[in-house]
Symmetry: C2
Subunit: 407 residues, 2 copies
Amino acid sequence: MKEIAGGVCAAKGFRAAGIHVGVKTHNVQKKDVALIVSDVMCAAAGVFTTNVVKAAPVLVSRAHLADGKAKAIVCNSGNANACAPQGEENAERMCDAAAKAIGCASGDVLVASTGVIGQTLKVDVIEDGVPKLYALLEASEAASDAAAHAIMTTDTVKKEVAVETTVGGKTVRMGGIAKGSGMIHPNMGTMLCFLTTDCAISPEMIHAALLETAQVSFNRISVDGDTSTNDTCIVLANGMAGNAEITEKNEDYAAFLEALKVLCTKLARMMAKDGEGAKHLITCTVQGAASEKSAETIAKSVISSTLTKAAIFGCDANWGRVLCAMGYSGESFDPDKVDVHFASGAGDIAVCEQGRGLPFDEELAKKILSEDEVEINIQMGEGDGACTCWGCDITYDYIKINGDYRT
Amino acid sequence: MKEIAGGVCAAKGFRAAGIHVGVKTHNVQKKDVALIVSDVMCAAAGVFTTNVVKAAPVLVSRAHLADGKAKAIVCNSGNANACAPQGEENAERMCDAAAKAIGCASGDVLVASTGVIGQTLKVDVIEDGVPKLYALLEASEAASDAAAHAIMTTDTVKKEVAVETTVGGKTVRMGGIAKGSGMIHPNMGTMLCFLTTDCAISPEMIHAALLETAQVSFNRISVDGDTSTNDTCIVLANGMAGNAEITEKNEDYAAFLEALKVLCTKLARMMAKDGEGAKHLITCTVQGAASEKSAETIAKSVISSTLTKAAIFGCDANWGRVLCAMGYSGESFDPDKVDVHFASGAGDIAVCEQGRGLPFDEELAKKILSEDEVEINIQMGEGDGACTCWGCDITYDYIKINGDYRT
């Protein structure tokens, strides 16, 4: 497996485009609609927000995925089309417009939105823009780049990755673009991720692979604990790599799954690192837990702890907050067996052993935590469960971004 | 029932004191040890942190409460005695010192600590200070004030309330002091609350009343979602009001419970309002929920939402974040039945009706949310369940207080 260029256009038979049509009204330089189209019909799967309050495009995409097939994705930024008048009607109109341009059924188009909540989507400008988008479709690095930018809100960097692997003796490529938390007018940090692959795989198997992958990648990051109404991750597999179609959990499935996990973990880390206002990527690894599930719950509790996030912002080796967050995670364990280390490119330091504080070099600790990417490594002494989760620190900029008045 | 002065010294037969002994080393002006003593043995009950990682004084106080009786409380600020070497030994030594001065059994003394985690408690200076504290004990407003200050860390205002009511034809008084989230060297925001009453009530009934009260007061506030290792709420009832002892859930119990709830709700609100760096007290009331429990879960999710807290900091009527937080609370409901209002002394404004945004006067909304105390009022249309929870906004100062380096 190797990393390659091209994002969502890396796999055979996928074209993309991204332009400004006018959903974002304050800045005409910012792209706001993306289109991704496969030359042929794809096996498709999606995972969506677990929030009871679901945005209209989530409901529409879920319905369009009922047959496990799709050919295209249309997405706008600047308006979440959540809790908004005519929400489903407008989401369907986006699909209709894309279907008309492409020449496919509306039910074969998936739709996503991100941005301000509760305001009517200006679907007219999107409908007007879709033919232009279609005309611009290209299978190129630049096209994937344009699409990646068109789904951004306050993200500061685009999130785009592609990998190449071998499945059933054939070269298979897969790529993705994603957005993390960010907004134009402060609202919720929506996670969107669109993945494309030329692997031949059945709808059932692509769905299984996506579920399994999301669980160990996107479901293991947290920026601020607020689960958006719009979170969406979609994968399209068009089969153009020419491998024998994967229809069961065999060796080929394992190879595909491994590549998908690498792809999604990279995108997930990018999202955590580019969390609103974040200065540090925090990687928390729990080992020696009673089970993988227990390790995951504990690691998530640590990366979600506001006090731990504030400590990392202050480059403060405040391991007491780590133990505290472990303690209220809901998992039971013996605190007197817990060891904690902080680590980064600048070194590794033990701060807590068997649940008690160790004397440590505060200067070295501060140096370690001053790096962009820092690790909190926990050894629990309970069993063999292990898990890594990713988060970010909470900063003045987070408060600024989310406290500024909408209008 | 009426509010009276005197705090923990308002009820008959209780004396208190608070002095600086040297646990807080950076500022000799700041009191750091408090002692509260009843003239006679009390029925006593406590509720403690649910964190798996429990501070030593929590373990010791819980053990000392096994017989439902106690006579005194000793508490230090400046060091949490959590995850610290010789933790239980040092907590017991605090009880021993107080017992020796008072002339009671060590098992009749309760102990609490708040402050930095993971460092050895300087128990020597506390032991040296206890005789001085004992000599200063007084049944006065000034004495309760001194004790209230001695348990503060970064609290900006002391939390002290007392009320008077009638139980079984006798005047019964009860009072309390509390501390909210704050710290000397940034650590966790510990909640401590010490309540005294002269009501005659059995250990079983005082325990039941405390559990029921904590559930609707302290358990309905959130500052930052981090449950401390040290949270402690203790009540001492010495029976000196002369009412017939309450030994069952009769009319007298109801009168006592009502007063205890008023007392604790006032203290809880004070804690939320004085949350670290907070500029706004947020009161979220959910009505029309499927049940009281459901209303509580939803209201807690709203006041705990970092994005909602940031919006209130920005005086931004960003109701989408409120709906979003309701949606990920874990409760199921129909978003299309939800109405949301923002209110304060400056007015009341409807922002969402039946799950859809309403056009509203942004200037008025901003004025309403600029008040110190703001309300988020939610009507769900599901049933008769209602609940009110209290929280605070998240501000630059929260990040500053918790991000600053410990040393």
